[in-house]
């Protein structure tokens, strides 16, 4: 087990290096440069001034020199300064994480609270009215463009009935008043998660209900409730863990669309702004931090998985969850 974890952690090093090279080359090869965003239009027309800015940002160097320079400082935990903010990238990201964690965890909790029970009940009563309704509802969730859903909620709850604030996170408001800002983004984001969780929970339950061990349990006279919670659910939950695990990285990666529709001051929106401003250090910093987080979470999910389902043996030879 320890061997396996160490191996997986060591494997992260080449993966992260490869990723950083890929993204670094990609964003620097893109046409255009960031100077246009820092200079007023009249000054940006002057090549001499632009060159000066480029030199200042180190962008005049050959690409491999730039990369090595970025890598050496990144390895020392310095991702540089965000263009335009004049703040270290890491600190900038850190200030945006709380809002994102708040929104994402609220949405995840909401989704789990609704999806798991509904998925279980729906599987227990397959093809009932409720089950069919749940199936259709899940398709709704998978097909709804979330920015549109967000706009429609805003239209009703903020514009028409004036019940909830349309945008923002109310970070300047006292803590107890903030929940109002959280409702709409949570519902929109949670709805997305819910749809896929319900489907997974339901199908995983259905798969297990038909197994022989359930018949055996019934035959020896166990109560349905015991069969359901002690036997079926235990086996059915593991694929759901994978799916939930796949949404965990959003905790710090944020949701770009939902955050920008609701002007939520989170990591997703920071990334979006950074892209528009060609803020290379921030783009690189965000990519690396979220990717590292994704890899760690994947590892944790794999370990969790083997605890929940002892049949799964983590071996040195296995190549991660899908390997």
């Amino acid at each position: 087990m320890t061997r396996y974890i160490v191996r997986r952690l060591l494997l992260m090093i080449p993966l992260l290096l490869g990723l950083s090279l890929l993204v670094f080359v990609l964003i620097h090869l893109a046409p255009g440069d960031p100077t246009l965003f820092y200079l007023p239009p009249d000054r940006a027309a002057d090549p001499a001034i632009r060159l000066k800015v480029m030199v200042h940002l180190g962008l005049d160097q050959p690409l491999h020199v730039q990369y090595v320079r970025w890598l050496t400082s990144a390895l020392q935990g310095d991702f540089g300064f965000a263009y335009g903010y004049g703040e270290p990238v890491l600190r900038l990201i850190a200030t945006h994480i709380p809002a994102t964690v708040q929104l994402q965890s609220a949405a995840l909790i909401l989704a789990l609270l609704v999806a798991l029970p509904i998925g279980i009940i729906s599987a227990m009563r397959q093809y009932s009215l409720l089950d069919n309704a749940v199936t259709v509802f899940a398709f709704f969730g998978l097909s709804m463009p979330n920015f549109w859903f967000a706009l429609m909620l805003m239209l009703l709850f903020a514009v028409k009935w004036n019940l909830l604030p349309a945008v923002g996170a109310g970070m300047d408001k006292p803590f107890l008043e903030r929940w109002k800002y959280l409702i709409m983004p949570t519902v929109v984001l949670g709805f997305n998660y819910m749809a896929s969780y319900v489907r997974f929970m339901r199908s995983s339950m259905l798969e297990n209900i038909r197994k022989d061990y359930v018949t055996t349990a019934r035959a020896k006279g166990l109560a349905e409730r015991v069969i359901l919670f002690r036997h079926v659910l235990k086996n059915a939950i593991s694929p759901v863990i994978t799916i939930v695990g796949m949404s965990i990285p959003n905790l710090i990666g944020g949701a770009i669309i939902v955050e920008s529709v609701f002007a939520w001051p989170g990591v997703g929106r920071l990334g979006y702004d950074a892209v528009l401003r060609r803020d290379y250090p921030t783009i690189m910093g965000l990519t690396m931090i979220t990717a590292a987080f994704v890899m760690v979470v994947n590892l944790v999910v794999d370990i969790l998985y083997s605890y929940v389902d002892p049949r799964i043996v983590l071996s040195d030879k296995s190549q991660g969850r899908n390997g």
């Binding site: 990609l26 199936t135 398709f139 239209l155 979006y272 979220t290 994704v294």
Partner: protein, 308 residues
């Protein structure tokens, strides 16, 4: 699917031995398709999805003929008008007919979907086949897939599109180029399990070259998975395109795209809710149609995959 096809193939081999007639082969094939169609037809949601997809495709093909007005024509005397007999879905802030723009916009969504899915299937199937067939290439290729999958998908997409310049072509390319990993993994997985089957072993024993084993034995048995992936990803591609267009990074004006219409309608949402309601509904219905179709296909093509 795989098992069924194998069974069919085995019976084909037997019938070939006994009669070796072309007619027998054709009936066997047809009954397999017939079985799939019968399975599919029983699923009412899937049939609804199929009908909607056909309808949307017809609308997209005939768009210039059935659109009541020119999508770019401005009637400055009737800006921001609610739905009426003249403009069924109202007009936008520049006096353009929303219905006509939605009809023409279907072409953007569908073409993005088709091009992106073609790219993704081509790359995914090629790399997945290679990885699944050749043990030496498998490791490095799958590490590359791991790298690609550790980047938050939408962020990567957004970055490339924004930096290389937003356009319809870039959107299609980037969606396809950043989403093939799932397909590659699926195809690889299928190949890994098929590789050990007797019929492949038999083919290898009689000296069938690798490319032929891949093309004639492994790929046909993976087709079901690929078709389902393609259909389901159509809906994803359409959703992604509309999200990018909503952020102003997809198809550029004057090309009418549903996401772009939402982007423009947003500022007038208070006065003209129809400007955001209807384009959003169009996205919703189209994505839903492809999801239902893909789900139904999966159930019909592979009873073992059902519900996954």
């Amino acid at each position: 699917m795989a098992n069924n096809l194998n069974a069919t193939r085995r019976s084909l081999v037997q019938t070939k031995i006994h009669s070796d007639s072309f007619a027998v082969r054709v009936t066997a094939r047809r009954s397999e398709l017939g079985r799939i169609w019968r399975m599919f037809r029983r699923n009412r949601l899937a049939m609804a999805g199929l009908a909607a997809v056909v309808l949307i495709c017809v609308v997209a093909i005939l768009a210039p003929i059935i659109a009541p007005q020119d999508y770019a024509e401005q009637d400055m005397h009737s800006t921001i008008r609610p739905p009426s007999a003249e403009h069924w879905l109202g007009t936008d802030q520049w006096g353009r007919d929303i219905l006509s723009r939605i009809i023409v916009g279907s072409r953007v969504s569908l073409s993005v979907g088709i091009v992106a899915v073609s790219i993704l299937i081509t790359i995914g199937v090629t790399l997945g086949s290679i990885a699944g067939y050749n043990r030496h290439i498998d490791g490095p290729l799958m590490r590359f897939v791991d790298i690609m999958m550790s980047i938050p998908g939408f962020f990567l997409l957004l970055t490339i599109v924004a930096l290389f310049g937003p356009s319809l072509l870039n959107t299609m390319l980037v969606i396809g180029l950043t989403s093939w990993m799932g397909t590659a993994r699926l195809v690889r997985g299928q190949f890994l399990s098929l590789r050990e089957k007797e019929f492949v072993e038999a083919a290898r024993c009689i000296g069938v070259p690798s490319w032929r084993i891949i093309a004639y034995h492994l790929l046909p048995n993976t087709m079901a998975v690929i078709i389902v992936q393609a259909t389901l990803f159509m809906s994803q591609a359409i959703l992604i395109e509309s999200s990018l267009s909503y952020l102003g990074l997809g198809a550029q004006p004057p090309t009418p795209s549903w996401g772009g219409m939402l982007n423009q309608g947003r500022d007038y949402m208070r006065q003209a809710p129809w400007g955001t309601l209807f384009p959003g509904l169009a996205i919703f219905v189209t994505v839903m149609a492809f999801n239902l179709l893909g789900d139904g296909l999966r159930d019909a093509l592979d009873p073992y995959l059902r519900g996954r």
